[in-house]
Amino acid sequence: MSEVWTTDFLTAVLAAAIPAGTAILFACLGELLAERAGVLNLGVEGMMLMGALGGFAFCYWTDSAWIGAIGALAAGAAMATIHAVLTVSLRANQVVSGLALTLFGTGLSSYLGRNLVGKPAPDRFSDLAIPVLHEIPGLGRILFDQDALVYISFVLVPLLWLWVYRTRQGLELRAVGERPEAADAMGLSVTGLRYAYVIVGGALAGLGGAAISLGTNPGWTEGMTAGRGWIAVALVIFAGWNPARAALGAYLFGGVEAAQFRLQSIGIGVSPFFLNMLPYLFTILVLVLATGEAARRRIGAPAALGRPYLREERG
C-alpha cells in the first residue's frame, strides 16, 4: 500500500484533480453568484446536465468545441431563467422550484439526447501545454498542461473574487442578497439584479456540464454529471460564499475523484462500489465541518437567501 504514494502518483492525481474539479468549480461559482443575490437554486444538477448535453450537441453539429461551450452557456442560462421567473417574479418556493428544475433537466436532457448517446465527439477541449511554464517539474504538469476550460477557470476565480469584494457592482450584488430593502431604497432594481445573477449562474453551471461532456469524458450519456451539481451546492457553503475558497473546495473534490480512479486502476483491495461512495461521503463530512465553522466564525449565508422580495412588504 505504501508504494502507492510515490511522487509520480501524487503528481498524476493532482494533475487529474484539476480538470475533474473544474466542472464542479464552474457550477459552484455560478451558484455562489445566485446565492449572493439572495436566490437559492437547487437546480444546479439539472442545469449542468442540460449544459453537458447542449455543449456536446452543438459540438456534434458544428465540429467545434468552442461553439459547444457557447451552447452549454445558453442551455444553462435558459434553464436558470425558468427558476428566475418562478422565484423572483412569481415568488415561488425556491427550494421546490430548484428541485423541479433538477427533475426537469434530468428528464429533458435524456429525452432530447436520446439520439446522441454513444456518438463520438468530433472535437473536444484537449490539453494545451503552455510554453516554458509546463516544463516546471511537478507543478508544470499539474497547472500548465491542461485544457482551455481549466485556464478559463484559473482566470475566472480571481476575477469573480475582485468583482464580489472590490467593485461597486459587487457591493450592489451583496446588498441585494443581504438587505434587499436597503438595495431597493438605494435605487437598485432587486428584481433585475436577481434575474441577472441567477441567469449568469445558470450559464456557468451549463459550462460546468460542458467541462465534462467536452473535457474529461467527451460524449453524452444520461445523467452523466452523477451528482456533481449537488456537490457544487454543498461546496458553496464550504466556501463561505467566497470564490477563492470555492476553487480550493472544488480541487479537493477533484482530488478525491482522481484518487478514486487511480486507486481503482492500481487494484487495491477495496470494492469499487465503496471507492465510488467517497465523493458523496466526503461531501457530507465537508458540509458538517463547514456548517460548524461558519457558525463559529459567524460567516453566514447571505441574510436574504431564500426569501422572496416584495416591496409592499418591506419592514
Binding site: 437547487l42 439539472g46 425558468i82 421567473v85 418562478l86 412569481l90 415568488r91 415561488a92 418556493n93 427550494v95 421546490v96 422550484s97 428541485l99 423541479a100 428544475l101 433538477t102 427533475l103 426537469f104 433537466g105 434530468t106 428528464g107 429533458l108 435524456s110 429525452y111 432530447l112 436520446r114 435605487g187 437598485l188 432594481s189 433585475g192 444520461e222 452523477a226 451528482g227 449537488w230 451546492v233 454543498a234 457553503i237 470494492s271 462500489f273 465503496f274 465510488n276 461512495m277 458523496y280 461521503l281 461531501t283 457530507i284 458540509l287 458538517v288 456548517t291 460548524g292 457558525a295 409592499e312 412588504e313
Partner: protein, 364 residues
C-alpha cells in the same frame, strides 16, 4: 437608475396591485393543480413536437399504456404503491420545512433490510411472522437512513437537503455492492441480484395481477398520517414548527427532537416502500430497484398539497404517467424520460400557479 425609476412610475400608474390573500378560495386551490397539469401537457406537447415526434401519438400511447386495459390499470396501481409511501414520507418532512430529498436512498435501505431478513435472518419462518419482521426491518432501514440527515441537521445545522441527497448515492452504491458481491445469487447466470425470496416472504397479490398488499400499507399509512397531523398534539407541534420555528421554541416545543423524529418517520415510510417493492414485485433485491420513485415523491407530495388525501390521488396520477412512459419506451422506442420531463413541467406550472393562491389582484 433611470430605468428603475421608470418602472416605479409605471407601477404607480397601474390601477391594480397584488395583495396577499389570507385564505385562498377552495375553487382556486383545486383549480390550480388541474390547470397546471393541463398546461404542462401542452408544454410537453410542444417539446415533443420540436424534437420531431407527434405529441398526440405519444400521449395516446401513454394513456393506452396506463388505462387502456385491466393490465395497464393494475400496473398503474403497482407503481402507485411506492409513490404513495415515499410521497407521504416526503410530505411529513416538508410540512416541517425539512427538505428531505433522500427518499430514494431510504427506499433502498428499507429494501436491503427487508431482503436481509427474508434471505438470511429468518428464511424458514412462515408467512405472517416473516412478513411482519420484514415490514419492521424495512421501516427500521429507512428510518436509520433518514435519521442521519435528521441528527446532523438537529445537532450541527448541516443542510438536510444535501446530506439526504448524498446518502441516496451511497445507498444505491451499497445495494449494488451487495447484489454484485456478497449477496449475489450463485445460480444467477451472472445477472446481478440476490436469490429469490422464500415464498412465505412474498406479499399476497390480487388475482393474476401484480397488484400486491403494499397498496394496503400505503392507504393505511395515509390514514394514520392524517390522524397524526389532524388529531394529535404532536401533529400540531409539527405544523407550528414548520410555520414559525421561533414561536414553536417559545412555546416550549422541542424542535431538535421533532426534527429527528420527523426525519426518522419520513425515512421509515420510504423504507416501507422499499420493502414492499422487493417483497411484492421483484421477490429479490436487484439492480435498478427504483426508477427514481424517491424523486418523483417530491412532486407527489407538493402536487398533493402535502395532504394525505391529495397524495393518494396524485400518486395514482403520476404512476399512470410512469406506466405510460414505459409503454412509450416499449411501443415507440422513445425514452421513458418523457415522464420525468412532464413531472418537472407540472411542478413548474403548479409553483407558478400558486401565486394565485397566495396573491390576488386588487384595485388601488
Amino acid at each position: 437608475m433611470t430605468e428603475a425609476s421608470a418602472v416605479v412610475r409605471w407601477r404607480e400608474r397601474m390601477p391594480l396591485r397584488v395583495e396577499r390573500t389570507l385564505e385562498p378560495s377552495l375553487t382556486v386551490r383545486i383549480l390550480v393543480p388541474i390547470v397546471s397539469i393541463i398546461l404542462a401537457l401542452l408544454t410537453g406537447a410542444i417539446l415533443i413536437l420540436v424534437s420531431g415526434e407527434n405529441p398526440i401519438a405519444v400521449y395516446r400511447a401513454m394513456a393506452r399504456g396506463a388505462f387502456g386495459d385491466r393490465y395497464g390499470v393494475a400496473e398503474t396501481l403497482v407503481k402507485a404503491i411506492p409513490l404513495l409511501l415515499t410521497g407521504l414520507g416526503v410530505a411529513i418532512a416538508f410540512r416541517m420545512q425539512l427538505w428531505n430529498i433522500g427518499a430514494e436512498g431510504q427506499l433502498y435501505l428499507g429494501a436491503i433490510f427487508a431482503t436481509g431478513t427474508a434471505l438470511f435472518l429468518f428464511p424458514d419462518w412462515p408467512a405472517v411472522p416473516l412478513i411482519t419482521a420484514m415490514i419492521l426491518a424495512g421501516l427500521i432501514g429507512g428510518a436509520v437512513w433518514g435519521l442521519i440527515p435528521g441528527v446532523l441537521r438537529a445537532w450541527t445545522g448541516a443542510n438536510e437537503t444535501i446530506v439526504s441527497l448524498m446518502l441516496n448515492y451511497v445507498a444505491i452504491l451499497f445495494s449494488e455492492y451487495l447484489v454484485h458481491g456478497p449477496w449475489k445469487n450463485p445460480q444467477g447466470f451472472g445477472f446481478p441480484g440476490t436469490e429469490q425470496f422464500p415464498e412465505a416472504a412474498w406479499l399476497p397479490r390480487y388475482g393474476t395481477y401484480r397488484v400486491h398488499l403494499g397498496l394496503v400499507f400505503g392507504l393505511v399509512a395515509a390514514v394514520v398520517l392524517w390522524v397524526i397531523l389532524r388529531r394529535t398534539r404532536w401533529g400540531y407541534e409539527l405544523a407550528v414548527t414548520g410555520e414559525n420555528p421561533r414561536a414553536a421554541r417559545y412555546a416550549g416545543m422541542r424542535t431538535r427532537r421533532n426534527i429527528i423524529l420527523v426525519m426518522a418517520l419520513s425515512g421509515a415510510l420510504a423504507g416501507l416502500a422499499g420493502m414492499s417493492e422487493v417483497a411484492g414485485v421483484g421477490h429479490q433485491l436487484q439492480r435498478n430497484l427504483s426508477p427514481g420513485y424517491g424523486y418523483t415523491a417530491i412532486i407527489v407530495a407538493w402536487l398533493g398539497r402535502l395532504h394525505p388525501a391529495g397524495i393518494v390521488l396524485v400518486s395514482f396520477l403520476l404512476a399512470a404517467l410512469l406506466v405510460g412512459g414505459d409503454q412509450l419506451q416499449m411501443g415507440m422506442g422513445l425514452p421513458a424520460a418523457v415522464a420525468p420531463m412532464l413531472q418537472g413541467t407540472i411542478l413548474f406550472f403548479l409553483l407558478g400557479g400558486e401565486v394565485l393562491t397566495r396573491w390576488r389582484l386588487a384595485r388601488r
